[in-house]
């Protein structure tokens, strides 16, 4: 049983996670002033459930704390305690402790006793100060001493139901009931046939004739454990069918197993039936009444081992449980087929299932390979074009299907960012209590779905950025009031989809970035040259430079040895970008732009100097041919191109990447260019030889297999099996802009002209 218990314990911990999320949602609603009965009940129930479960599993620490927490929440529920902001804060703190205690029970780090004691005292204070009637005394024995259990006269209750399977009041089928005994040979199990299917088949027959079947399992032949041969069949069944059932129907059910089992069909009277039943009383099991034909099957809960391929169900107990679990016979469509059909467990309770992540990941990998194989097939089809119209049609529909499969798998892996976002509430709370600031974190777009690999990896960078926002972004309450702002700081964490990417913004209403100070520190740390002239953007980006820290004193919070450069690296590692905008006195906004998935990418295949490369479609604005009259040379040798009056740097892709370009710029009348942009909207034009195709490519890490290369973000395998590089457009654009100029375009236009 201990294995079972371990499994159940795992389920319990999963439930705890859910309850904690529910608790967090509820408390968040409470702190927003939403103190409806439902909210309060949900909050109470979450803690109550954790406590109840923990008690069942003997998790003492958890029970003790949850009990105090529950009592004070009960005060809230009964209206003796009002959900004032102070009290909600205490609850939030208690929730964090509770969550850590759950982690502790799972084998995590032990929770600091002082923290538990503090929170406990706070909770008890709530109860001590509760208004109205005296708080309910803690009762070890909850059930009133004067309560007498209400005994039940067992038999009469039964009489109210139309059972038919209880020894005493057994309602015997009509005297001509059809009795089928069925004992499978070991050979039947060897062949892979399942006794359960046959019993379902019989139940179907019964339903078809407007009655029910009663099944009794005969366990007398089961030897003692010592003599048990696990491969040997020893169970048999006795099924009573309504009188209306013709014997032929029963033969049909057993038709295909008649060589490997013993079946007898008799019409018998009630007397024999009763006598028999007494013998098998303990093993009595009956199929659910056949009147139930809807999907609300009694999906019982002991998860029965799947016996279909098992050598032989030798354990009577197991078989009985399976029998108990049998769904009512499905509509009596085809009794013969019912015998062969896979037993269907009807999911009456859950609309969701838990699946190991690695299975989904494996599936995703396979889909990735499928995409490559499909592309290869497509390439062959195109090479032989004209010859195989039919094949090309098939390939085209396969392409659609491949994409649909991919989308479906992606959808399976997609998760709302809510789980991570909600965790951030705690991060902000803790940061606030350490810095003695008052900050409200508002969440937006928590339902935005992204690939779950990404969801998990967001946690660390977000944690750090939010700590930073509280520590460095938001001013102290006095400073805020002096600046004419409310004493409570605001941070907005929002997520949303934008053109195939997810955009996460962290916006605070703090002091903004002090550019002089940042620049001074940058110079002091030797990150920038003393005489460098930097744009505002460049100064902002200094905080991402390795070795940069503006905190006058290394605070407990942000100064934990991780700088913003680590955050930036983490985001870059996810294929994302970070941009900052900041207005002094009004606050700072960090913008993270991330791909929805780390697995596939829609790309444009282009050629440059004979190499095929991939440009992510999401960064391509337009493609066009430009004449040389629109290209202007700057004094430093770089070129800009004017497109509809807008100037942008021209990137000769081949030479930037160090490839030998076979055809020098300027030989032909026109060049093919791709107008690309980075996340902040800065544009540049890439000169390429030709545009080949548009395709979905599977991203393969180049760092893992080779090393990081500037201007290249990853690699992929094309349909013809060749390796192709995926260009890092933002890096290329930033590089080009850095070389040329970042002043407003009207200034540049003047120079160019």
């Amino acid at each position: 049983m201990s294995g079972d218990m371990d499994d159940i314990l795992l389920v319990f911990f999963q439930e705890c996670e859910e309850q904690l999320q529910e608790l967090e949602r509820g408390l968040a609603a409470l702190s927003d002033g939403e103190s409806g009965k439902e909210t309060i009940n949900a909050v109470f129930r979450a803690v109550h459930s954790i406590k109840g479960g923990a008690a069942s599993f003997g998790l003492e620490n958890l029970v003790r704390f949850a009990h105090v927490f529950e009592s004070s929440l009960d005060g809230l529920r009964s209206g003796r305690v009002a959900p004032t902001p102070e009290i909600v804060k205490i609850f939030l703190k208690a929730m964090d402790v509770l969550s850590d205690l759950v982690a502790e029970a799972q084998g995590g780090a032990a929770v600091d006793q002082d923290r538990i004691a503090d929170s406990r005292t706070e909770l008890e204070t709530i109860m001590a100060n509760a208004t109205g009637s005296a708080p309910a005394e803690k009762q070890d024995e909850v059930i009133p001493a004067d309560f007498t259990p209400v005994p039940l006269d067992f038999a009469p209750v039964m009489a109210d139901f139309d059972f038919g399977d209880l020894g005493v009041e057994e309602e015997v089928p009509a005297s001509t009931a059809l009795v089928v005994t069925f004992s499978p040979h070991t050979a039947m199990y060897d062949r892979g046939d399942d006794a359960r299917n046959l019993l379902i088949g019989l139940a179907d027959v019964a339903v078809a004739h407007g009655g029910t079947s009663t099944v009794t399992c005969e366990t007398a032949a089961v030897p003692t454990l010592a003599d048990l041969e696990t491969e040997k069949s020893c169970l048999s069944w006795r099924v009573v069918l309504p009188a209306a059932v013709p014997e032929e129907s029963v033969h049909t059910v057993f038709d295909w197993v008649s060589d490997v089992c013993d079946v007898t069909i008799t019409r018998e009277g009630a007397a024999i039936l009763k006598a028999e039943d007494k013998n098998a009383e303990d093993a009595a099991a009956s199929l659910a009444p056949a009147s139930t034909t809807d999907a609300q099957a009694p999906a019982s809960a002991i998860i029965a081992p799947e016996p279909a391929q098992a050598p032989s169900p030798t354990s009577a107990a197991v078989m009985e449980r399976i029998m108990a679990e049998l769904p009512p016979a499905p509509a009596a469509s085809a009794p013969v087929d019912a015998g062969k059909a896979q037993p269907v467990r009807q999911p009456a309770e859950q609309a969701t299932i838990r699946v190991d992540l690695h299975r989904v990941d494996d599936l995703m990998d396979l889909v990735g390979e499928l995409v490559i194989a499909q592309a290869a097939l497509e390439a062959i089809g195109q090479a032989n074009n004209g010859g195989h119209q039919e094949m090309n049609k098939c390939i085209a529909s396969m392409k659609t299907l491949t994409r649909d499969i991919q989308d479906a798998v992606m959808a399976v892996r997609a998760q709302p960012v809510r789980s991570v976002f909600q965790r951030m509430q705690r991060v902000v709370r803790e940061a606030c209590s350490m810095t003695h600031k008052d900050v409200v974190l508002t969440l937006e777009g928590e339902n935005t779905e992204v690939d779950r690999t990404l969801v998990e990896k967001l946690s660390d960078p977000l944690t750090h950025m939010l700590r930073n926002a509280v520590d460095h972004g938001i001013e102290s309450a006095e400073d805020r009031i002096a600046a004419g702002k409310p004493g409570t700081g605001q941070i907005l964490l929002s997520a949303g989809h934008r053109s195939g990417r997810i955009l996460i913004t962290i916006q605070d209403d703090g002091a903004g970035i002090n550019r002089e100070r940042v620049l001074a520190i940058g110079v002091k740390r030797g990150i920038v040259a003393p005489d460098a002239v930097l744009t505002d953007d460049e100064i902002h980006n200094l905080i991402f430079a390795p070795g940069f820290s503006t905190a006058a004193t290394v605070s407990d919070l942000s100064g934990r040895g991780v700088g913003m450069d680590v955050v930036k690296q983490a985001i870059l590692g996810l294929g994302g970008r970070v941009t900052i905008s900041s207005v002094e006195g009004q606050g700072t906004t960090f913008c993270l732009s991330l791909p929805l998935t780390l697995a596939v990418l829609d790309g444009m295949l282009i050629d440059a100097a004979g190499s095929t490369m991939v440009v992510p479609i999401s960064s391509v604005v337009e493609t066009m041919m430009v004449g040389h009259k629109d290209i202007y040379a700057l004094p430093d040798g770089a070129n800009v191109v004017s497109i509809r009056g807008e100037c942008m740097p021209l990137i000769p892709l081949a030479s930037v990447l160090g490839l030998v370009r076979k055809r020098a710029t300027g030989q032909s009348e026109e060049d093919v260019i791709l107008v690309v942009e980075n996340e902040s909207g800065a544009r540049a034009a890439l000169i390429v030889d030709t545009i080949r195709d548009q395709a979905q490519v599977v991203i393969k890490s180049i760092e893992k297999n080779y090393r990081q290369m500037p201007g290249v973000s990853a690699a992929t395998i094309l349909g013809d099996g060749s390796v192709s590089l995926i260009l890092d457009i933002p890096a290329l654009v930033a590089n080009a802009l850095g070389r040329i100029d970042t002043r407003p375009s009207d200034v540049r236009t003047e120079i160019a002209a």
Partner: protein, 129 residues
């Protein structure tokens, strides 16, 4: 004197783990008919369709709680004679009294042992084989 295998039981609790622990305990006593539902509403639907002798229900559940379920069960002629046991760790005396008024057969306090469960059941059904 009913045999455990004759008693058709329904466990109602919103927590899967609690249901499974209880189902295991019942199976240990010898129960073979054990259905589970996650709240009062689902339980009522089940009871409507499936003859049942025993309901063991949690107090606090979403959608429809144990007390509401008990009242609904007692007000339906089809189900009113079902043995109803409330599984509780509830600290509230009022709720317990409400349940007594509504006609609960017995209580099972969490945490419990299999022996305790048997004792609670036998107070309702008499000795169970």
């Amino acid at each position: 004197m009913p045999a455990a295998s004759q008693i058709k039981a329904l466990i109602v609790d919103d927590q899967t783990s609690i249901r499974q622990v209880l189902a295991n305990s019942l199976a240990e006593i010898g129960f073979t008919h054990i259905a589970q539902r996650k709240d009062g509403k689902d339980a009522l639907e089940y009871l409507e369709q499936n003859p049942t002798h025993l309901v063991i229900s949690d107090f606090n559940m979403p959608v429809m709680d144990g007390l509401a379920l008990l009242r609904a069960v007692r007000s339906n002629p089809k189900t009113q004679k079902v043995a109803f046991i409330i599984l509780t760790s509830e600290a509230s005396r009022e709720l317990v009294q409400e349940a007594v008024k509504a006609g609960v057969n017995n209580f099972l306090a969490k945490p419990y042992t299999v022996a305790k469960l048997r004792e609670v059941l036998e107070k309702v059904f008499g000795p169970i084989k």
